[in-house]
């Protein structure tokens, strides 16, 4: 079993993204350090555009997450609707 992770700057822009990830990925665990939040998840983690939009009440381009992204690991696949990190292909 391998873990994937993604970390964001701890700020207001990241908050709805982190909430969306934690709701959409029941196995995800977040850890807060000074200025950053890291989310670990077993094998696979998904970020869904719709989940973020439903929190912020406007349309959201998934590439916006790059503004506050600190690091990630795993194979990445991104399209207009979701971003997936995984170790299984």
């Amino acid at each position: 079993m391998s873990k994937v992770f993604i970390a964001f700057q701890a700020n207001e822009d990241s908050r709805p993204v982190i909430e969306a990830i934690l709701e959409d990925n029941p196995d995800a665990v977040s850890t807060t350090s000074p200025a950053m939040v890291k989310i670990d998840c077993k094998d696979r983690l998904v970020i869904r555009r719709e989940s973020i939009e439903s929190r912020i009440g406007r349309s959201f381009d998934l590439q916006e997450i790059q503004l506050n992204l600190i690091t990630l690991t795993g194979h990445l696949d991104e399209d207009d609707d979701q971003l997936t990190l995984s170790w299984k292909r």
């Binding site: 391998s2 873990k3 350090s33 000074p34 916006e64 992204l69 600190i70 690091t71 990445l76 399209d79």
Partner: protein, 517 residues
């Protein structure tokens, strides 16, 4: 006739395909191998460049838009930092020494990365590879510039930051990061991307930028955490690309696997050795600590790297050769490195010190198997000597490893009380190494490493004195002459933190005229 405007905006994948597939062509006036002359001699075989894909599928419009937003955020904070005397908000003036090491050792590498990616961004045959490397080249230039701008605010008030570019090419410990990048820059384009994009960016940069920058935040350095995380938002893209590059090369031809494996063995070890400096920044130089080097190595080295190499096993790739040794050394690395800089504190362009009692207890808790037994007595001894007015400064020069250029202070993997020495003979000369892995790297490409510019050798050969200096005059002080050649402000940039101008000024600016402990 006008083209009919499409009803629907193109999706991410379509936009990326138009940029990276539609704009390239096979050259006809000149054969492709003459237009791209560097991509064949390393032995890597590429059959279909279109298989190279940036998983973020970043197009130019999105790139400029998001990078512009990152810059606006960053510079607003840098301005606020400068306007509000942010330099006085850090935990303790000792912290500022991490920034000195950063601007001396890391920022020049960002600039070298800019140059390196500009080079391979011209040389790769495939369009998507070239675009990815060109974007990364611009990113790296941005990192170098934002770091200079941020640190320039500290340079107005503190010593040890004024001539970092001059130092990078001359100073003994800075040849460690410099030679790392020079080694990559003078390799072929595929080795360069495996070295920098994969081994360094993907496997190792988390250890530099993530816990250290979180540490900067914890120590109240608003400006550094902001440039660090702003750079790191680009690094996420670079890391993703690093993994994509490795998969691309491995999937193109089975003959590529052994070549890549050898590069991974080499560059994992080269990168890990450079991180020796980071280990002591985390354990000794951050007054308020977020995690130990050992913990960071376990999370970002062992767990994350372990997951990665499990995944790459399907291509026939195994963990790099030095992997186990790095894990053994996690209990020792930072202590041995900081001890060495404490020794050579007269010749280092930042301040050194012995850890406080509270810090020693923290180190005991984080390193229960090694700190009290092996390293605490050493620091207590030096502390006692300093109290007696005999602060120890080592006045001789250390032997350097020919490959990593670090002084030979590392111990045997099986015996932490014995220094590890290895050597090779080549064309009648003897070369020295700190480890089996550094020796292996040399033995495979001796013609490359016999050209290493080893600072200690250069000093002894008389190549590190200012023009006109006469080493034969009575009372000649070679250390002082070398520090003059470095453009050191002697007595201000070097020596112990205790009693330094930085310490006194920081206390004075906080209204404490006593000037330190």
């Amino acid at each position: 006739m006008d083209m009919e405007a499409s009803k629907k905006k193109l999706g991410l994948k379509e936009r990326y395909n138009h940029l990276t597939r539609g704009l390239g062509w096979e050259t006809t006036y000149q054969p492709m191998e003459k237009v791209f002359p560097y991509t064949r001699y390393e032995g890597i075989k590429i059959h279909d460049w279109d298989k190279w894909e940036d998983p973020f599928r970043l197009t130019m419009d999105a790139y400029w838009k998001y990078q512009g937003e990152k810059e606006k955020k960053l510079y607003a904070i840098i301005d606020a930092f400068a306007q509000n005397n942010g330099h006085l908000g850090v935990s303790d003036a000792r912290y500022i020494n991490t920034l000195k090491l950063f601007i001396q050792g890391v920022s020049p590498l960002e600039y070298m990365a800019h140059r390196g990616f500009a080079h391979v961004g011209r040389q790769f045959d495939g369009v998507s590879a070239r675009i990815a490397c060109q974007m990364q080249s611009v990113d790296e230039l941005r990192h170098a510039q934002t770091q200079m701008h941020t640190v320039s605010n500290y340079n107005k008030y503190y010593n040890g930051m004024h001539s970092w570019r001059h130092w990078h090419d001359r100073v003994w410990y800075l040849s460690v990061p410099k030679s790392f990048f020079d080694d990559a820059m003078s390799a072929g384009p595929f080795e360069f991307v495996v070295a920098i994009s994969f081994a360094f960016e993907y496997v190792l940069t988390n250890l530099l930028f993530v816990p250290f920058m979180s540490g900067a935040a914890y120590n109240g350095d608003m400006a550094t955490v902001t440039f660090g995380f702003s750079a790191q938002s680009d690094e996420s893209r670079h890391m993703t690309l690093g993994l994509e590059i490795i998969k691309f090369i491995l999937e193109q031809d089975p003959g590529n696997v052994p070549i890549v494996q050898r590069w991974l063995d080499k560059w994992f070890w080269r990168g890990y050795k450079v991180l020796t400096l980071v280990s002591m920044m985390m354990d000794y130089m951050l007054p308020k600590k977020v995690m130990s080097w050992k913990e960071a190595w376990e999370i970002y080295g062992e767990q994350n790297g372990g997951a990665l190499f499990n995944d790459l096993a399907r291509y026939g790739i195994r963990k790099p050769k030095g992997w186990e040794q790095a894990s053994i050394e996690k209990d020792h690395l930072s202590h041995q490195a900081w001890s060495t800089f404490y020794n050579y504190g007269a010749a280092a362009l930042f301040h050194t010190w012995t850890p406080t009692d509270g810090e020693k207890d923290w180190l005991s808790a984080k390193y229960p198997d090694t700190f009290d037994k092996l390293y605490r007595p050493r620091f207590e001894h030096w502390e006692q000597q300093a109290k007696e007015g005999k602060r120890f400064y080592n006045g001789t020069l250390p032997m350097l490893c020919t490959t990593c250029q670090i002084p030979m202070f590392f111990t045997e993997p099986t015996d932490p009380t014995k220094i590890c020495y290895r050597e090779s003979d080549y064309k009648g000369d003897k070369y020295h190494f700190c480890s089996d892995h550094c020796k292996d790297i040399f033995d495979y490409e001796p013609e490359k490493y016999v050209q290493s510019w080893l600072p200690v050798h250069q000093i002894y050969q008389g190549n590190c004195f200012n023009p006109g200096v006469d080493p034969t005059v009575p009372g000649f002080d070679p250390l002082r002459a070398v520090l003059d050649y470095y453009h050191t402000n002697f007595g201000r940039d070097n020596f112990d933190f205790e009693g330094s101008e930085d310490q006194k000024n920081f206390a004075r600016w906080h209204g404490d005229d006593a000037g330190g402990a």
